[in-house]
């Protein structure tokens, strides 16, 4: 198993290399001059001074030279410096990634906990009222854009009823004056999280419950389920032990692909709710032509995606005895 994982990790190197070229070239081809963005509107800096800044930012010379300089630093773990925030990109990512993780991990756990029992029940009562209701519900969840659903919730829960804060991660006044204790701090963050978590979980629930339902329907019609019933097992045991363990095989692969999104952030959602996570950083970086941050976050997401695939494959061999990784 360890040998297999190492082999897969080695195989990733050329893939990352190619991805890095693509990302680098794409980001550098964005319209707009990062130096102008850096200086701000109406600055009176002379063209000569601009060239000096350009050189300081590593933006001089042809693209392939820029790439080699950038890749050389990347190998040493240096992702460059943010133009906007004036600090190293690694530090910036380290600061914001946990906000993204917090939001995503809670909504994913919520979505998994709800979608599994509902999906299973849908499968066992195929085409019943229960099944049809959740089918329509999840279709709705897949179709409605997150920003729209988010804004609807904000309108009712924050603006109309005043129950929850509109956006952000903390109450600015409380945060500025300091919290009386850690619980006040947690409660503040938690209240800011409610709406974004609902929106994210709603989306994941919708697709997950469909997957659970369909995987279970496939399994329930298999011969070994009839065998399990013929043994005299209770229907609950038949469904939750014999059927669900088989349905887990496709689900685990799917969940493996969810892992990278725990870190890479939901761009639109974080922007709508001004949630200080990686997705938000990325949008900000693109808008302000903060090239090193944009490149770094994109590359980071790509690497996470590759690791997620590897994780799926490894988990696959854990849940399915027919798959051997050797």
């Amino acid at each position: 198993m360890i040998k297999y994982i190492l082999k897969r990790l080695l195989n990733m190197i050329p893939v990352i290399f190619i991805i890095s070229i693509l990302i680098f070239a794409t980001v550098r081809s964005m319209p707009g001059d990062p130096v102008n963005a850096y200086l701000g509107m109406g600055s009176k800096v002379t063209p000569e001074q601009k060239e000096v800044i350009r050189e300081q930012l590593g933006l001089n010379g042809p693209m392939h030279e820029q790439y080699i300089r950038w890749a050389g630093r990347l190998v040493q773990g240096d992702l460059g410096e943010s133009i906007k925030y004036k600090k190293p990109v690694t530090e910036l990512i380290g600061e914001y990634i946990w906000n993204t993780f917090l939001l995503n991990v809670i909504s994913l756990i919520l979505a998994v906990l709800v979608s599994i029992p509902i999906g299973i029940k849908q499968a066992t009562k195929k085409y019943s009222k229960f099944d049809n209701f959740w089918t329509v519900f999840s279709l709705f969840g897949i179709s409605v854009p997150t920003f729209f659903f988010g804004l609807v919730l904000v309108f009712f829960l924050s603006l109309q009823l005043g129950l929850l804060p509109m956006n952000g991660m903390r109450d600015p006044i409380q945060a500025a004056f300091g919290y009386p204790n850690i619980f006040a701090n947690l409660a503040d963050v938690a209240s800011h999280m409610v709406i974004p978590v609902i929106v994210l979980a709603f989306g994941s629930f919708s697709s997950l419950s469909r997957y659970v339902r369909n995987a279970m329907i496939d399994v329930i019609n298999q011969d070994y389920i009839r065998t399990a019933r013929a043994k005299g097992l209770k229907e609950k045991v038949v469904i939750y032990r014999h059927a669900f363990k088989n349905a887990l095989i496709p689900l685990v692969t799917l969940l493996g692909s969810y892992i990278p999104s725990l870190f890479s952030g939901a761009m639109i959602l974080e922007t709508v709710f001004l949630w200080p996570g990686l997705g938000w950083i990325l949008i900000e970086a693109i808008n302000s032509r903060d090239l090193s941050v944009t490149t770094a976050v994109l590359l980071f997401s790509a690497v996470l995606m590759l690791l997620g695939n590897l994780l799926s494959d490894v988990l696959y061999s854990v849940v399915d005895p027919r798959i051997k990784t050797e």
Binding site: Y224, T227, A230, K231, G232, L233, K245, D320, R322
Partner: protein, 337 residues
């Protein structure tokens, strides 16, 4: 007449009707089945695909899937309890314990994500008050009994590590683990190749003698019937059309359908030429005719065959046939029943 002294009754199926309520209409898969099973007996149920053999077997354990339903009749087991209309809990007590079942497809009948040993132990732990160690010992013992080499190793294997024949042996071991009175085998060898078929069949015969388990064997293979059965039910379009001890049936088939089946069996003496067939096909169970279901294919069809259902005539003791041809020789009538 030693032959007439029969063993204890094990199963008494009366007027069993299993209908499937589909969107197109009601499909009468089993339409008024009557038969009895006795201890230490192998009863073969023969018929072509779709004649209701499997549905009959499934309904005994209440395993008929939606939209199928037992609409009428009774299945009385040896203690006199009617299994039709039993609560889920009562029938679960019987499944795998007093009556077990093995299926046609050994390749897909074992759960791929559980170890062989665990799958056998599961039934034992469920129905008997034993510890895990005892259940595991039983699993090894059962695997030895069904002729699996190195059973201690196989209990930790997964189904995909075994061949089709091995898997069917495991299925048999699992089914017999709780020492049931009756084993229902639904085409247990159809999916296996011929040499393995013979092995599995002789294994079942051995186990029947050793453990005293009765076998209900569902098959379309008359060769298997001749080798295994004590008694035979011939089914056609959801009904038993003829029932007789195996020797009697082969020597003296009465129903035109049974005769047709016998004739279509190739033998070594058949010289070249085409195999005999029964013309036509089974009527659609959605639109069954008023009269005898076999009338359209029957070489001896009479006018009354299309008018009403044929009576069950007694040819001999234990040989019954549902056909108008034998009204005159019906012993039931002569005996004044």
């Amino acid at each position: 007449m030693a032959e007439l002294v029969r063993n204890k009754k094990l199963l008494d199926v009366r007027d069993l009707k299993v209908y499937f309520y589909t969107e197109k209409g009601v499909s009468k898969a089993v339409d008024g089945n009557n038969f009895r099973m006795y201890e230490n007996e192998t009863l073969a149920i023969v018929g072509e695909s779709g004649c209701g053999k499997s549905v009959t077997a499934m309904s005994i354990l209440g395993l008929v899937d939606e939209p199928g339903k037992i609409v009428d009749g009774s299945i009385v087991e040896y203690e006199g309890k009617n299994m039709v209309g039993m609560s889920d809990e009562e029938i679960r007590d019987i499944r795998g314990n007093e009556i077990s079942m093995i299926f046609q497809e050994p390749m897909t009948s074992l759960n791929p994500v559980f170890k062989i040993g665990d799958q056998i132990m599961e039934a034992v732990l469920l129905h008997e008050d034993v510890t895990k160690e005892e259940a595991k010992a039983r699993a090894v013992e059962m695997l030895t009994l069904v002729g699996i080499a190195r059973p201690e190793k196989v209990v930790t294997d997964y189904p995909h590590q075994l061949s089709g024949g091995m898997r069917q042996r495991v299925m048999i071991a699992m089914a017999l683990a709780c020492n049931p009175k009756l084993l229902i085998a639904d085409e247990p060898t159809t999916a296996l190749d011929v040499t393995i078929q013979a092995q599995i069949l002789s294994l079942m015969n051995d186990l029947k003698k050793k453990l005293g388990t009765s076998i209900m064997l569902i098959t379309h293979d008359l060769g298997v019937v001749a080798q295994m059965a004590d008694n035979v039910n011939v089914m056609y379009a959801g009904k038993v059309v003829e029932t007789a001890p195996v020797k009697e049936l082969f020597a003296n088939p009465k129903h035109p359908y049974t005769k047709g089946l016998m004739a279509s069996m190739p033998s070594l003496n058949t010289e070249g030429g085409r195999l005999a067939t029964i013309e036509g096909s089974v009527p659609n169970s959605l639109y069954l005719p008023k009269g005898c279901y076999f009338a359209d294919r029957c070489p001896n069809v009479m006018d009354k065959c299309r008018e009403s259902q044929p009576p069950t005539c007694k040819i001999k003791s234990r040989h019954h046939v549902s056909c108008f041809l034998y009204e005159d020789v019906d012993l039931n009538k002569k005996e004044g029943k």
